[in-house]
Symmetry: C2
Subunit: 326 residues, 2 copies
């Protein structure tokens, strides 16, 4: 591979001059600059960023740990993080925890060993300690880890209120909420809190069933609905699902069971990611999280933190998207 000595030789200058030209350090005549730049171009010289990272203690790489890369929500978040990172000349190392604490821990260690400048945590299977111990810039999605680790989320509580009130406005009397995993005190659990509070205020009967470890495939969701939800479904006339994929699966299940949607059963989801936006049969009623803004903010907060700018938490507004299922 071409190195800096080859460039110096080709340009007829010293290695120091090449280095100073590339780093815009000190006075370099226009003529010398042109010679160096032409030599770099002719030889297709690529400066060694690894050596530079070691020297500057700055790799311009950020790590991202997500639970499931093939899930449309996380695929889209990563898309936006990458776009923003690229604008600021950072690269992203992507890791997939598959909701597995061992894997998440292993990835945290690996990212530290690779001296990434910081980490965006979208997977949350570990205790708070594990993140604090890393002593590196971290930004968290949808979880409050500690006061020193900023978080970005949507307004989950408001989302829960909007969804529940919408079902009540549509005349539902007995409501079910299929929540995400209620462990680890994730901010997404505020949806369940809001559901419960709103039902109580309105004197509406309700139940919460934890969709614990619900995966992103139709089949996994189908099995969950068949085994855990179907036996209770006749008790309810409205369901608030904590994500759009389970809402869609529930719609398909109910349709096959000859339950008329929305007449007999109303369904509302949460997310409004690429899958939901693409879907036209049915057009799902859901709560929109601004995935683009969340992705960009996760990335800008982390880079600001890496570059010692002051940062804070950010909670994005959410919005009711009225579709055909309510």
């Amino acid at each position: 591979m071409v190195n800096i000595k080859d460039v110096a030789k080709k340009a007829g200058v010293s290695v120091t001059t090449v280095s100073r030209t590339m780093n815009n350090r000190g006075y370099i005549s226009k003529e010398t600059r042109t010679k160096v730049e032409q030599a770099i171009k002719k030889l297709d010289y690529q400066p060694n960023q690894i050596a530079r990272a070691l020297f500057k203690k700055h790799s311009y790489v950020i790590g991202i740990i997500v639970p499931d890369l093939s899930h449309p929500f996380f695929a889209e978040i990563i898309n936006w993080i990458e776009a923003y990172a690229s604008d600021r000349n950072y690269k992203i190392l992507v890791c997939n925890s598959l909701h597995d604490a061992d894997k998440e821990k292993k990835y945290l260690d690996m990212l530290r060993q690779h001296r990434v400048d910081g980490i965006i945590m979208c997977s949350h299977t570990l205790d708070v300690d594990a993140y604090q111990k890393t002593k590196m810039p971290i930004v968290s999605f949808d979880r409050i880890i500690s006061p020193s680790i900023p978080y970005v989320s949507s307004n989950n509580y408001k989302g829960g209120v909007l969804a529940t009130k919408h079902l009540i406005d549509r005349n539902c009397k007995k409501l079910l909420h299929i929540s995400g995993p209620l462990t680890n005190d994730l901010l997404a659990n505020r949806r369940a809190d809001a559901f419960q509070a709103t039902c109580t205020e309105s004197g509406i009967d309700y139940k919460i069933i934890e969709g614990a470890y619900v995966k992103s495939t139709f089949e996994d969701n189908w099995n969950f609905i068949e085994n855990k939800i179907a036996p209770h479904l006749s008790e309810f006339d409205g369901v608030f699902c904590s994500n759009d994929i389970i809402a869609y699966t529930l719609f398909v299940f109910a349709s096959k069971a000859k339950i008329r949607i929305p007449e007999q059963l109303k369904i509302i989801g949460y997310d409004y990611h690429s899958f939901t936006r693409m879907l036209k049969h049915p057009i799902l009623t859901t709560i929109k999280q601004p995935v683009d803004l969340i992705g960009k903010k996760l990335c800008s907060t982390l880079i600001d933190k890496i570059e010692n700018a002051s940062v804070g938490n950010c909670v994005f507004d959410v919005q009711l998207i009225k579709g055909e299922t309510t």
Copy 2:
């Protein structure tokens, strides 16, 4: 950050002994090994992989350039690449070219500067030269770049034959193929070749319309169909779409235009990625590419090449998935 000297001090041994213990080099007594391992654990020491990469000229990082991270096909491919890479202790740097040649070139340079061990190219906007010039291990998805760059693809020609024959078997007489971009001699274009050959053999009227730069959102596809396909749609009774998202969008468009599917118009797609597998209204007839196997093979071929094992091209079989749209 804790360094190797801290570990040596804590364990009461020399830096060389710590290094030899960690690298399993030379004789180390069981007692010494235990002391070193306990010190590493207590101090939570993370060896500096950047320094190691510089020394060993081996970063254990591979780069992936895709055209669109939020597209379900590429999200899924990356998911499988990451899973396989992780099993072999490699990490992935993900880049998003957005079908932009400048961006793709910039990413190629950046990955080289970061001394990744190799690159998986799923984006193909550049000329063959640009890839050859990198002089590093590359594996290509769906494009033959040069004899020294192995490729992985599905059997696109067979896929085109299966799709076209299926429409003819279902009694279609006038066929349309909406192809991908026909530039850059991508292997996906073999689908169009097969369509053309099969129609000609069977004496069937046909037309090919290039779905050139079709993006992954419903709206982009809808505009394309409204402007480029709708004016011709009444001339055909069967359409072979080069991807499932355009097939789905065409289904929605035709349904709104009161064209009965499959009675008046039969539609078949290509891919069978997570979106299609999730979709139940309609269940799309399509050609299945084994996304999991393709992702794993791209990764295993690249790592084998990096580690100097012999590698070859790989073409995966495809399969007709009969749904409700034909």
